[in-house]
């Protein structure tokens, strides 16, 4: 299994980071969960280092929520072991619960309570003293942008604000591990961005395990992704490595103003170009889709070529596979195998 290490200095500075030999926040080994009639999660294993942000991705029903519920100690596993900060989630449930901030799917809240009142209630429930409660509630209200809304009744808040209340609740006792189940579901793009920024700002201080069924959302936030498909891990790696997994770096696309024959002849002289596909586009420009040899970045070659010949260039990009493609491909492979 592959891990991204957070910068070494960062971990040492953490107030909550305890000296642990392996530095693992979550260790899941061979986790299985069977409900009556079907298996939701079958034999998955993964680990998360302290300070990492890890995304759990999968389509609906892939087993994300079940996995997170077991991690938070709400549901027991049918098989396998789960350890959080070195404690077994079932046998040492209280120790685990003290260390996690969990926001379930759909973010359930008490609609009749006011924001500040609710956060105070949750902080006290999680064992904070009165002094700590006041201090921490003030802090998370600020952190989650809820200062103006602190006297509002939760039931009357917009979805975006309710989501922030859920996040503030998960953060209020400064947990070592944050478990967020679909924190951006149902939000508009601007709200999604602010939630994403908030999660990103937690890196290093907290370990975060966040789930989503939208890959592109996690691609930008997470150090590492675990892709679940039908209760099994289809892939687990950094977003970059997942890109590489697709085999070969992406095509380079260039729009150049020159004649087609000149372009074809020029591309033939470059050995790294395996295949060139030239088609006319608006104006005098031609769109050249260049497939490289494995692992070669053609952009600088193409740029230099155009510079030498004095050809105007109006676009030069290397196409990346979106993780969406990777996800579809991975899950399709899986289906073909079974």
């Amino acid at each position: 299994m592959f891990f991204i290490r957070p910068p070494a200095g960062l971990v040492a500075k953490l107030p909550l980071a305890r000296a642990m030999s392996d530095g693992l926040m979550i260790e899941v080994s061979n986790l299985t969960k069977r409900y009556a009639g079907h298996t939701a999660v079958s034999g998955i294993s993964f680990a998360v280092r302290r300070g990492e942000i890890v995304g759990l991705v999968g389509s609906n029903g892939a087993g994300k929520s079940t996995t997170l519920r077991i991690l938070s100690g709400y549901l027991p596993a049918s098989g396998g072991t789960v350890r959080v900060a070195g404690f077994d989630v079932f046998a040492q449930s209280m120790e685990v619960r003290r260390r996690i901030g969990y926001m379930p799917e759909n973010n359930p809240l008490h609609p009749e309570m006011r924001v500040r009142e609710y956060l105070k209630f949750r902080a006290r429930l999680k064992g904070l003293s009165w002094g700590q409660t006041r201090q921490r509630v003030d802090m998370v209200l600020q952190q989650c942008g809820l200062v103006e809304a602190q006297k509002s009744v939760i039931g009357q808040l917009s979805k975006g604000y309710r989501q922030r209340v859920g996040l503030a609740d998960a953060l209020v006792h400064e947990p070592e591990l944050l478990i967020l189940d679909e924190p951006t579901i149902g939000l508009d793009p601007r709200q999604i961005r602010s939630v994403r920024q908030l999660i990103k700002s937690l890196a290093g201080r907290h370990t975060v395990l966040v789930s989503s069924h939208i890959l592109s959302e996690l691609e930008m936030t997470c150090h590492r992704m675990v892709i679940l498909h039908e209760g099994r891990i289809a892939a687990a790696d950094t977003p970059d490595n997942l890109q590489a997994l697709m085999g070969g770096r992406g095509q380079v696309v260039a729009e150049i103003a020159a004649s087609q024959a000149e372009l074809q002849a020029a591309f033939d002289t470059i050995a790294e170009i395996r295949h060139a596909d030239i088609s006319p586009v608006a104006g005098d420009f031609f769109r050249c889709a260049l497939t490289p040899q494995d692992g070669v970045d053609l952009r600088s070659r193409v740029f230099n070529l155009a510079l030498q010949r004095g050809w105007p260039v109006r676009e030069l990009t290397r196409q990346r596979h979106t993780l969406e493609d990777i996800y579809v491909r991975l899950t399709r492979v899986e289906e073909e195998e079974t």
Partner: protein, 250 residues
């Protein structure tokens, strides 16, 4: 302890944020007032040597309030949290099942006791106009309220159990009403039917709730009754804890 106090406060507070809590209090106050009016009218018609607290139980109002208030107070305790999903956020904080059950039970019992305060006011008013101060002896009142609290405590425990079992509030209300009404019917039966010997007789004499209440209203605090109510309450609370824990065995 901190978790228990925090939870109890929230539970108790949630009774008063909606109109339901106040409606229940108003309805109970109305029925209690009505029962006292009826009582006093009866007393004017024909004097009786029985203490007035005992007569109170002979009106159907006491039992009506008990039967109706129990499901309304207890139905939301667990069922609402399970339906809305807040049960998940609750049970992933460092609180034990016992703390949760006891906090919810305490809140329900406190609310139930609050329901009976208007009848205390009725007693005080009556006392003001009455000629013989011995008719309303403080000890008698205390034992009557002890009886009301013990019986209510048992019914709240039944309601907690029903709410923990049910998935929706309606189901919880129906279940707790059924449980409470079964107990009430058994005690009604024990007054009407005489069974000679066997477990049937044993059962009917034990669950004679009305006889128990009569004893309390006469100022008689029978240890057998105390043991009966306290042990049955503890048993149902124990069952409730087991039901809440059962999530972790599945």
């Amino acid at each position: 302890m901190q978790a228990y106090v925090t939870l109890t406060r929230r539970e108790l507070g949630s009774f008063f944020v909606s109109a339901t809590g106040f409606l229940v209090i108003a309805a109970a106050a109305f029925l209690q007032g009505l029962s006292w009016v009826v009582l006093v009218a009866q007393l004017q018609a024909e004097p009786t040597p029985l203490p007035i607290t005992q007569l109170f139980y002979s009106t159907p109002y006491f039992w009506l309030i008990l039967q109706l208030a129990t499901p309304v107070i207890t139905m939301r305790l667990f069922a609402l949290e399970k339906a809305s999903g807040t049960f998940e956020t609750l049970m992933t904080t460092p609180v034990t099942e016992l703390q949760v059950v006891l906090a919810k039970y305490t809140a329900a019992l406190v609310f139930y006791v609050l329901l009976w305060l208007p009848s205390l006011a009725c007693v005080l008013i009556l006392r003001h106009f009455i000629n013989t101060p011995t008719a309303l002896d403080p000890g008698l009142l205390a034992s009557t309220f002890l009886g009301i609290t013990l019986l209510g405590g048992l019914f709240m425990a039944l309601g907690c159990f029903a709410s923990a079992l049910a998935h929706t509030q309606i189901m919880a209300a129906m279940l707790s009403f059924t449980l409470g009404f079964t107990l009430f019917l058994l005690s009604l039966l024990s007054g009407r039917v005489t069974v000679a010997g066997g477990w049937q007789e044993e059962l009917l004499t034990r669950v004679a709730l009305m006889d128990h209440m009569n004893d309390f209203a006469r100022g008689l605090v029978d240890v057998r009754h105390l043991v009966f109510y306290l042990s049955l309450t503890a048993w149902f609370l124990f069952l409730t804890v087991r039901v809440v824990e059962s999530r972790r065995w599945k």
